[in-house]
């Protein structure tokens, strides 16, 4: 029986993998069929995920008794592989496969006519396989491998329109910045293996919980893992890649850069939650980074004029919310928010794609008045926005409320700081998303842009998108309204708690009516201000911008983070300083490519000249110098007796 179940679990991962292989090997010349195969594979994964969820509901989220298999036995190092299925995994699987399914469906219209249509579906399949693999992995090494694979897929898909320099640069930036986090994750994996001799997540959790690993090691490990999560989930200070990643096709933004891959960091921290629980320091770092990210990104979201960038900063901000929640101990609330966010943010992204499909641009200043032409898109977009803004009874309300309650209950300066920043973010969120709604859908149509980024979709009069694009919007609007009720009696919490050791399980928090009412009022205030400013235009946005000019400039330049990294750290310090210094050393002692090329053109006899001009002597000098220095250290350390 368990064998069957494990087989099904594997199938969730392998169906899209098979689709990837089929598309690459057989269907390269049959774009339509390639799209169908990819859709079918994700559908299989989705159905099996629903099955997994139902099984887990009946087991109260307890882990299935699957065994790890041996992949490689290398001396003392055994690399296992296996799947792990518990309540948490099942929830994640449903999130990943359902959003993926919607995106697959939608992309058939959105990418129609693209010259790399087949490749697009191949990459989507590979991504879905890697992402489900990441969720199913039962050990940290496998998790790391899938972690990198989703990174590669993200690289391929952001740079999908690779002839657009902005897209190519964004892909590279995303890849490098996230790898900067990943390397600490890999170092943490090495560390934990050295100290415990295992990669298995369950075993590591138990060891950490039982106090068998020293606090220093746990903290280092947790921080390393968190650094990986910072990169992948675009947390401050590595959040700079995500807004640029919006250069990718919009369905990709919805799937990878809103619902699933960027949530992988939250997943990772939540998966290793018992380890973090064992180190208060690591927890506090998570909470503070999360709160800071939520706040910083929300402030930037307020001034962006590109609808996808607004959503991107919103995603960063909401991911910060989830991290905040984990840091204050709100494990269930974080995952609950992850679930709700996946649906309403995917909805918002696909909605923005639908809008640009007709207007040919993502610049909100060129849209306006689209509610009449696109009633379905408008309605669903508003539902997503209400959910994001945390207005009762939409899904975002419920989870946001649990997050804030968790921070409040945590207390201490970390808890109250997180709570106050969180409350500020509620206001900012409601404001920026309704700002987007009003600018895009209300007022008069401002003409769009004929030169569409992804093909000649733009046309003179705005019109509703085809049903194949609207359908997913409607389907995603349903959970955006309803998914918040999943935890109303703690049922969702029970499912997730099954993944934790019994002592760490959380009691259901219930709803604090006062707090909930307060946060809704704050949210409505944000909506109201947006309404006054951008719909009624009682408050002039331009006047506000002029009055608070320094603040506006600061926010418009995204807190100058890109300038700090690219201008100062990378260009000045790394390139201008360290690398140039080293290269200068290698060039003066050594000659550069430049000299060599020049000599070629001049005369062949130059080789003797340059041998005599001291270069060889310099090489020899460095060589002997190195030897002498090592010998000197050696003799100082081991004085001859």
């Amino acid at each position: 029986m368990d064998g069957f179940r494990e087989g099904f679990a594997w199938a969730i991962f392998s169906a899209p993998l098979v689709s990837f292989a089929l598309i690459l090997l057989i269907l390269r010349r049959y774009p339509r069929q390639a799209g169908y195969v990819a859709n079918l594979a994700v559908l299989i994964g989705f159905v099996l995920s629903i099955w997994a969820l139902s099984v887990e509901i009946s087991r109260d989220g307890a882990a299935m008794p699957f065994h790890a298999h041996q992949w490689l036995h290398a001396g003392p190092l055994t690399i296992p592989f296996g799947v792990h299925l518990d309540g948490f995994t099942a929830v994640m699987l449903v999130v990943v496969t359902s959003v993926s399914l919607m995106v697959h469906f939608y992309s058939q219209a959105y990418m129609d006519g693209d010259e790399h249509y087949v490749q697009f579906f191949a990459y989507l399949s590979l991504f879905t396989a890697s992402m489900t693999g990441l969720v199913l992995a039962d050990n940290v090494l496998m998790l790391y491998i899938f972690w990198e694979l989703v990174g590669i897929c993200s690289y391929l898909l952001i740079g999908f329109w690779y002839h657009r320099p902005a897209a190519a640069a964004a892909a590279k930036k995303a890849f490098i910045v996230t790898r900067f986090g990943d390397m600490w994750f890999l170092a943490a994996v090495l560390l934990i293996w050295t100290k415990t001799g295992t990669f298995n997540i369950a075993t590591i959790q138990e060891a950490a919980h039982a106090g068998m690993i020293s606090t220093a090691v746990i903290t280092l490990f947790a921080l390393g893992v968190f650094a990986g999560a910072i990169g992948k989930s675009a947390q401050f200070p590595l959040h700079v890649w995500l807004p640029d990643a919006m250069e990718g096709p919009t369905p990709v933004s919805a799937l990878i850069h809103a619902a699933t891959m960027v949530a992988a960091g939250v997943y990772l921290v939540a998966r290793l939650f018992p380890v973090f629980e064992a180190s208060q320091g690591a927890m506090d770092v998570v909470a503070i980074v999360g709160a800071a990210t939520a706040f910083i990104a929300a402030t930037i979201g307020v001034v962006m004029t590109d609808i996808k960038r607004v959503l991107a900063y919103s995603t960063i901000s909401q991911l910060g919310y989830m991290m905040l929640s984990l840091g204050v101990g709100g494990y269930v609330a974080a995952i609950f928010h992850l679930l709700n966010h996946a649906f309403f943010k995917a909805l918002l992204f696909l909605g923005s794609g639908s809008v640009s499909h007709t207007s040919g641009t993502f610049d909100m200043r060129k849209m306006g008045g689209l509610r009449r032409a696109m009633p379905w898109t408008y309605a669903t977009f508003v539902i997503g926005s209400l959910s994001l803004a945390g207005i009762f009874p939409f899904s975002g309300f419920w989870s946001k409320d649990e997050v804030l309650l968790g921070a409040w209950d945590r207390g201490g300066w970390v808890g109250y700081l997180a709570f106050s920043l969180g409350m500020l973010v509620v206001f900012l969120t409601a404001f920026y998303i309704f700002r987007a709604v009003f600018i895009t859908f209300h007022g008069e149509y401002r003409g769009g842009e004929r030169e569409a980024g992804h093909g000649a979709h733009g046309s003179g009069t705005p019109h509703e998108s085809p049903w194949i694009m609207v359908g997913p919007l409607v389907l995603l609007a349903v959970p955006s309204v309803l998914s918040g009720f999943a935890n109303i009696n703690g049922g969702f919490g029970t499912l997730l708690n099954g993944a934790l050791p019994p002592a760490l399980r959380e009691a259901h928090l219930g709803v604090n009516v006062g707090l909930a009412a307060f946060s809704v009022v704050v949210g409505l205030a944000g909506v109201g201000l947006a309404y006054l400013t951008y719909d009624l235009q009682v408050v002039s946005a331009e006047a506000l911008g002029r009055t608070f000019r320094p603040a506006y400039v600061f926010l418009w330049n995204k807190w100058f983070m890109d300038e700090l990294y690219e201008g100062i750290l990378v260009r000045r310090v790394l390139y201008g300083g360290v690398c140039a210094g080293l290269a200068w050393f290698d060039r003066t002692a050594v000659d550069g490519a430049v000299n060599g090329a020049g000599a070629t053109a001049r005369f062949a006899g130059s080789m003797w000249r340059r041998v005599q001009n001291g270069q060889i002597q310099a090489y020899g000098f460095v060589l002997v110098g190195g030897a002498v220095i090592i010998a000197a250290i050696a003799l100082l350390l081991n004085p001859v007796r």
Binding site: F180, L623, G625, A631, A634
Partner: protein, 476 residues
């Protein structure tokens, strides 16, 4: 019993090398690419024959060891030489003269490299090293029409001679302290204790490390590498970066595990220091390169840093990991270099910016090069991740977690410069007038096999790991 059969594969190779030279002298009209295929065929023939030596243990007068370690490297070197001979076929025919000598020298170098792995006595090892060096001197300066080639060859000779002198000087110190040059003898002497000569021993070790560090291109003894890589004809660059490097490590590993294990505390930190320096310098300077050969030179320097970690953490696990990594490195670098050679044959370009738009000019070539570069950057599923991970793991296991962490962090930098090349190939459009490229069928087939090999080692490294483990078992 003289056990001459231990020498048989190399004697056959020697004969074949001379036959190739003679063949060209006797039939100067012979098609030059035919000589390349003959070379590849002979190397593969000897490779298959020497596979029969697997699991045999023997020695020639305690100078040359025949064991799985020797066989592992013999197969590695012969395989590499065979593939490089095939890859040289068009380049040598079109751009170089004296094809017979060229291919003969390729095989002669393999003899030196194999004996570096097989030697169990210092002077034998030294002579083997010099044999390899001499073939390289000639090969590096083989392109008479390109002054960079001659210049590189000259620099290489002068510096290499200097490093060899230091190495020899170090050997004399070791001999002075222990009274023997055989690895086993040195070990016995060190185990028995050397008392007041400890300082002398340390100086000897430093000199040995300098000489070997030069050979494998460890920082700060690396300075010849970029010039030699850039000046040498491309297949020779590949030959240096794979055969010469692996041979250096083969000697290094056998010498230090069989002879100097008892005094590991005296030299471990030196190697660790070199490893750290090499990783940092190699990766950072690579960021600034504009020529693909120099880029690969610095990239290979940084790879040396990772390999040195295995020597610093010397144990059966780390030695196995080193051999595994060398295997994966050879496959990856072969794929990269053969793709670059094919590109060079078709276009004559070797600057990174010459690769612009390659994806449109030849998709397969761009894909193979991308796979190889991703593998070098250590992305999962590619060979480079798996072998490096096992290597870092082995070092962490043996108390060098900090050095492994260093390796992880510096290898992250490498992704950046590999992406520079990938960017040129995929992002930028080809220049006007750059048409599609033609790649010979055999080269394409070789590239496909190598690309599959990269994934094979990256996903299922067990067979290679077993071979490596059985090769290193006798060392400890």
């Amino acid at each position: 019993m003289n056990h001459y059969e231990v020498l048989a594969p190399e004697l056959v190779l020697l004969g074949l090398a001379f036959a190739l030279v003679t063949l060209e002298l006797l039939f100067p009209q012979l098609r030059k690419d035919l000589v390349a295929y003959l070379t590849a065929a002979s190397a593969i023939g000897v490779l298959v024959a020497s596979a029969f030596f697997a699991n045999r243990s023997d020695s020639f007068k305690d100078l040359i060891q025949l064991d799985n370690y020797t066989t592992f490297f013999r197969i590695l070197f012969l395989g590499t030489a065979a593939l490089l001979a095939i890859a040289s076929a068009h380049l040598v025919r079109d751009k170089l003269s004296n094809a017979g000598e060229y291919y003969g020298l390729l095989l002669l170098g393999v003899i030196g490299a194999t004996y570096m792995a097989a030697a169990s006595e210092l002077l034998t090892a030294y002579i083997a090293l010099e044999l390899l060096n001499f073939t390289l001197y000639v090969l590096v300066s083989f392109d008479r029409k390109d002054p960079r080639s001659g210049e590189a060859g000259l620099k290489y000779i002068l510096l290499s001679a200097f490093a060899s002198a230091l190495l020899l000087f170090g050997i004399s110190f070791i001999f002075g302290v222990t009274g023997t040059t055989s690895y086993a003898g040195i070990r016995h002497a060190l185990e028995a204790g050397i008392g007041e000569y400890r300082g002398t021993l340390v100086v000897g070790l430093v000199l040995l490390l300098t000489g070997l560090g030069f050979k494998v291109a460890a920082v700060p003894f690396h300075m010849w590498t970029p010039d030699a890589y850039e000046g040498a004809p491309l297949p020779v660059t590949a030959y240096i970066s794979i055969v010469a490097k692996a041979a250096g490590f083969a000697l290094f590993l056998r010498l230090f595990s069989q002879a100097f294990m008892p005094v590991i505390s005296d030299w471990r930190w030196m190697v660790a220091l070199l490893a750290a320096l090499t990783m940092v310098f190699g990766n950072l300077i690579a960021l600034q390169q504009v020529n693909i050969k120099r880029l690969l030179a610095y990239s290979s320097i940084s790879q040396v840093g990772y390999m040195l970690i295995a020597i610093a953490a010397l144990s059966h696990d780390s030695a196995t990991a080193l051999l595994l990594h060398l295997g994966g490195y050879a496959i990856t670098n072969l794929a990269a270099f053969i793709a670059i050679i094919a590109f060079y044959n078709a276009t004559g370009g070797e600057e990174i910016r010459d690769f612009r738009g390659l994806a449109e000019r030849h998709a397969g070539l761009a894909m193979t090069l991308t796979i190889a570069l991703f593998s070098l950057a250590g992305m999962p599923l590619f060979a480079g991740f798996m072998t490096k991970f096992i290597l870092f793991q082995a070092a962490a296991q043996h108390g060098l977690l900090w050095l492994s962490a260093f390796g992880v962090v510096t290898s992250m930098i490498s992704l950046y410069y590999y992406l520079m090349v990938i960017r040129q190939m995929y992002v930028l459009k080809p220049r006007d007038g750059d048409g599609r490229l033609r790649v010979p069928l055999l080269t394409s087939a070789v590239l496909v096999v190598l690309a599959l090999g990269i994934f094979f080692v990256g996903i299922w490294p067990t067979p290679l790991f077993r071979a490596a483990a059985s090769a290193t078992r006798l060392l400890f």
